[in-house]
Symmetry: D3
Subunit: 285 residues, 6 copies
Amino acid sequence: MKKNNITFQSCEANYNESQVVIFSAPLDCTTSFRPGTRFAGNAIRVDSAGVEWYSCYQDKSLKDYKTCDLGEIYLPVGDAIKSLDLIYKTVKTILNDNKFPIMIGGEHLASYGSIKAVYEKYPLLRVIHFDAHTDLREKFLGMKFSHATFLRHVHNDFLGDDKIFSFGIRSGDKEEFEWAKTHIFMNKFNLDHLDEVIEKVKDYPVYVTIDLDVLDPSIFPGTGTPEAGGITFKEFLDGILKFVSLNNIVGFDMMELSPSYDPSGVSTAVACKTLRELILIAHNK
Amino acid sequence: MKKNNITFQSCEANYNESQVVIFSAPLDCTTSFRPGTRFAGNAIRVDSAGVEWYSCYQDKSLKDYKTCDLGEIYLPVGDAIKSLDLIYKTVKTILNDNKFPIMIGGEHLASYGSIKAVYEKYPLLRVIHFDAHTDLREKFLGMKFSHATFLRHVHNDFLGDDKIFSFGIRSGDKEEFEWAKTHIFMNKFNLDHLDEVIEKVKDYPVYVTIDLDVLDPSIFPGTGTPEAGGITFKEFLDGILKFVSLNNIVGFDMMELSPSYDPSGVSTAVACKTLRELILIAHNK
Amino acid sequence: MKKNNITFQSCEANYNESQVVIFSAPLDCTTSFRPGTRFAGNAIRVDSAGVEWYSCYQDKSLKDYKTCDLGEIYLPVGDAIKSLDLIYKTVKTILNDNKFPIMIGGEHLASYGSIKAVYEKYPLLRVIHFDAHTDLREKFLGMKFSHATFLRHVHNDFLGDDKIFSFGIRSGDKEEFEWAKTHIFMNKFNLDHLDEVIEKVKDYPVYVTIDLDVLDPSIFPGTGTPEAGGITFKEFLDGILKFVSLNNIVGFDMMELSPSYDPSGVSTAVACKTLRELILIAHNK
Amino acid sequence: MKKNNITFQSCEANYNESQVVIFSAPLDCTTSFRPGTRFAGNAIRVDSAGVEWYSCYQDKSLKDYKTCDLGEIYLPVGDAIKSLDLIYKTVKTILNDNKFPIMIGGEHLASYGSIKAVYEKYPLLRVIHFDAHTDLREKFLGMKFSHATFLRHVHNDFLGDDKIFSFGIRSGDKEEFEWAKTHIFMNKFNLDHLDEVIEKVKDYPVYVTIDLDVLDPSIFPGTGTPEAGGITFKEFLDGILKFVSLNNIVGFDMMELSPSYDPSGVSTAVACKTLRELILIAHNK
Amino acid sequence: MKKNNITFQSCEANYNESQVVIFSAPLDCTTSFRPGTRFAGNAIRVDSAGVEWYSCYQDKSLKDYKTCDLGEIYLPVGDAIKSLDLIYKTVKTILNDNKFPIMIGGEHLASYGSIKAVYEKYPLLRVIHFDAHTDLREKFLGMKFSHATFLRHVHNDFLGDDKIFSFGIRSGDKEEFEWAKTHIFMNKFNLDHLDEVIEKVKDYPVYVTIDLDVLDPSIFPGTGTPEAGGITFKEFLDGILKFVSLNNIVGFDMMELSPSYDPSGVSTAVACKTLRELILIAHNK
Amino acid sequence: MKKNNITFQSCEANYNESQVVIFSAPLDCTTSFRPGTRFAGNAIRVDSAGVEWYSCYQDKSLKDYKTCDLGEIYLPVGDAIKSLDLIYKTVKTILNDNKFPIMIGGEHLASYGSIKAVYEKYPLLRVIHFDAHTDLREKFLGMKFSHATFLRHVHNDFLGDDKIFSFGIRSGDKEEFEWAKTHIFMNKFNLDHLDEVIEKVKDYPVYVTIDLDVLDPSIFPGTGTPEAGGITFKEFLDGILKFVSLNNIVGFDMMELSPSYDPSGVSTAVACKTLRELILIAHNK
């Protein structure tokens, strides 16, 4: 008899034998409006029982690949800076072991730690960013590290100009939209021009960071700051599937599911289905 | 003073005087993920108070037709096989009395009993199937009769090749998709080609079985296994309304509402509106 | 230290200094199906913390304008006629002070009081009406004043023929649709022909009354009578933004949010975002 | 085949053969805080499937008695006065036919109509009243007929001093408590002294009106104005069972369930169990 | 890096080194009213993060003991008989390895499988049963094996007269209460006489089966058939703690949590706290 | 016309004219399990519409006193230390102006800031503490300032031994219970001995800090870490009312309502009723 093991659907391989490694980072302390992303990781694991392991979109099955689910990493609640360091170290280790990291959020700030680790391995890194919100404030409520500032500091602290490609943006402060014009590529409202961006970054290492609130809240109500006017799931899935042909993807994250806000469980089901597709893409790289 | 009578909106005629007969089959025991379809029938009856009896899509009103609502049929909880037999007998009786049956689910397995009865009266039967899921497994968790297998056994046990036309499918096992290629017509993801199929079956008796999870979970979260990427309500309604011109429809079912998962009541309202349209179409036949 | 003040995001100006004045009218007593619109006003105020004051659609910010939020007006629960009179007087005062009124519902009947006041100031008034329901019954359950009759009496009591332009309608009684043909302009199902209507009314004073259930319930489940088949938020927002160029708008209302039916908070977030856009448009007039 | 019939558990007898007649009165328009009692009647009918027909408290079973469930009576939404008249006429008819009426609320104001009819048949009537709230205002928000005034007008309009016995009261205005001292018997907070009151009224006809919010909201959260500090279900049941020995009870009502506020369904289950006990007591009379 | 492992709080030992072994049995197919107990096991595991590992009632900590959490055992959905056999085999193995089994339900029928295995090892077995419901029907809806019949068949199939001691019972059919009088000990409504029963069984092996609906639904709404009038948590805990002094306990189960019915999470928290106490008691044996 | 003003029921006086001042502190960033206390303040304000201003327990009315509701104080999300300083300064100002402060939480850590300010004005301060949890850890998850440590640091940083009197405690780590024995007075499980403690502290200035989770979760599910086995509302209210006779109370707080976890609204109603009683007691001092 073996002791219990709840993982994301079919991701039961050991770390050493796996090419793709998933983990969840329950960072949830700088959210200004509605908290709750800390519950995303285990909600996804438990509800993944409702997801087929076969994708009829990619004609591939999770069963045919070795994936390790590390589970939740331990984070000190209320201490964002130590938490970012722990996330950074986790991703660093996964990359050093030549595995592909996929992080499940938690709040979007967690991506700062992950992208920093990826950048150190891949200094030519480009970041593709799906989100409803700019996340480009210099400070938010007096703090540098916040879910509303993370991308600005990814830029300021290490990545620099013209490396970030944002899609789906429909909310932010005027200053953020102004700043974006000269520092990053921003495609407001939808995923138009994603093909051109993929063409542009195809020879660079690419990290894809997905704030699930890029989706319209009709299909993804379970998030802290729902923002109407987002993309449909079909538009989203079409966008994701374009990454199948992008050979240099080196990391994924999928952030900001806050499952309690959606008692129907649909938001968690959307995250599960998205994660299945991301894992299958990652195994291609 | 007369005793109480809760029926679907305006369906208060007696059995004998009705051309269309509706009933609900609270089968809900083989669902592997989230149960609850047993509550669909009465939820639809009670909430039908919020539905107009006039359809501005068909320019017809429930008030102008005689429809009988038999209510819930009694099913032995936990015994799928006896339950299928009771459903079969109910539909058989309705057909023998030359009335048009409409079944409200309950899990999709219930359609096995209904389609079997319809097939016996109409051996040339064709089945049009709206669903997110293939439902084509040979066995599921070791059992022949399950919500994940019902269509396969409709095929195997009596209907045979080239009689089933599935639409909207976006989830299943690889084997099911493979099997489908040589045994049934399957239109993945949407209702494209429905016109061609209608043209093809127009001289045969046709049964339409609708798993409401064919709809995108944004508009229909109240179901056991929500599957993002479905059709919008407008696409769905356009599909339904095509049946107005299909003269040989001999039965309908509308399955898999699980009302508790949608505290907003929208899923039940969607089922009520759909049922109104189906009843009005049935009165045309 | 100053006492507490909860207003809609950034609408903290005093009455006298404001060009635009918002208030909520918690009328909620003639609703036949699901009540609860009385809670809309304060739900919108509290949750407006999650809304940016900057609109990237209009490139304008609430911070740059003086707007007064009067809060809830006191209404005698259960007395629709006295309530309508109080709403009428509130709007009358705002108009007399040469300010722009925006009312937050409450049930749609409240618009009768508001439109009456606006009409008295602007006898050439035209009304643009977004709604899922006709609201054109002569009487409903034996009563003249009801959420299902309000527009008929706006017509009968003062406005008259060819002044009302309804959009998005997809539910009502046959008689209502018949009556509409000769008395008002009605665009069923969507906002098609809105450009032509705007062109037609552009030299008249225009009041815009929005029943938020014109939206599809996938994005707006929090309402008393959800009616599938509505417009998407993008279609809705495109419609709203057309009013930027309509120079004679003299009043807005936004009705029928019933927040308790949507535990995800998305419906309230949609109302907040819509209200931000309406306020910014109003400051243009 | 017979058409559908949803009644309270086992109450399927025809009107003529029944000694006890239940009906629901969905009055729900003067509630000042949280509405929703209109949904109580059908929620109780549907969920009564979860209630045994046998009471181990009274050692009697619903199956052994003839009870008719008339269902919902039609009320014009938003018109309290016409509604009271319809309730009055319903109870009047039941009493004229020498049957025992049990009304399911709906808001407590409905009891005015019922008690008036009972009083006309039994001019010596005494009323036992379980409630958290005094319901003794002269006017509320300017109106005579309101859920907060009903008992005062039962007193003023026909019943007079020393005929009303209130229990469990823990909320009201100072004036109500003052007025109560000289006009009615009031036992605050609990059911103490119920035995003495029963002794005092045992030779008079007695009507028992139960606002279910007399229960502590821990066991009955599904009501419009939950008021902590109420009685436990055991104290409540003990109180109810005292009526077994009170031979002159001539009517019951059970008011103010608002099922949507309790997603667990427990409040509805409590109402179902209470109703079973009331029906069994009524069959004793 | 180690792969993920979600267990009940602190129960991370391997099977071989553990004296106490817990597992969950997601049987959930014969429930006649509201299903959902299948979700109990993982809900308890995930939410056990909110439970201290130290009990201030027993002054002991989970950290000081080796406990193995086997997780969910695989059950074929919809096949009660095969499921009972799998449960039986699991408990049999645990007992053969001289470990103490604790089962988390699932519906109460699962206890049949567990008790059968325990009985085979301990033919002198006594069963202490906490429940709101009798569970003593011969057949229910035509079936032998059902959540409403399990205890009758524990009696009939192997245990026999005077071995079962039921507490807290307050719902059932008349025949069940009659049958109980001559075959088992039944203490209705509460835990009175538990001390005497413990005295009586103290020299026999004892299995304790707890249907959590013995608790009043005020503290435990998350169950399929809530039955008002149950014991408080303090009465329940006092009862549980009496087992500390009962030296011959050989197995526990804790059944019928249905977490979705309680969105507050309190029911799951109650189950977690109860399970902590049961594990600590088991380590005493 | 005056702009909007949502305050707690009847607390509409200006700061200068008020003897009692209430404010809310939405601190919500160190909670380890379920967050959400940030929403308590405005939930209480909005739902206070359902609370009578008259207390039949104290025979006094909010209407007869001047109370100022300052609303929410601004706190930098995610920065506990700056937040504590802002809370400290707010209470300091209120005390300097010789007014009585009542703080609404937010997480319990906020009380550290409030008690520190009170202590500086009253160095002989005693603290009466109602809570389910010890809150006496030295560090929690590596951090000094946390909801699980606040009371230890109130002791360590300024208050010292034998000044803290805890009641209702039923959860914590073994070390906390051990430490408590020699440093504070702790009454586990209930409010027994409160009379004696009141007698003991009656000549000292007293601050009362109430974690509402001292209540049993049956009546107060809306909190982050519900802990079964708490006191009933009647026991709680009896305890609160003892403070009427305690002449030296100098401050109150009422913490840890997390309204989203209780969709019934009962928890918020309990907090509203408690706050009414606290305000009325404060006006006595």
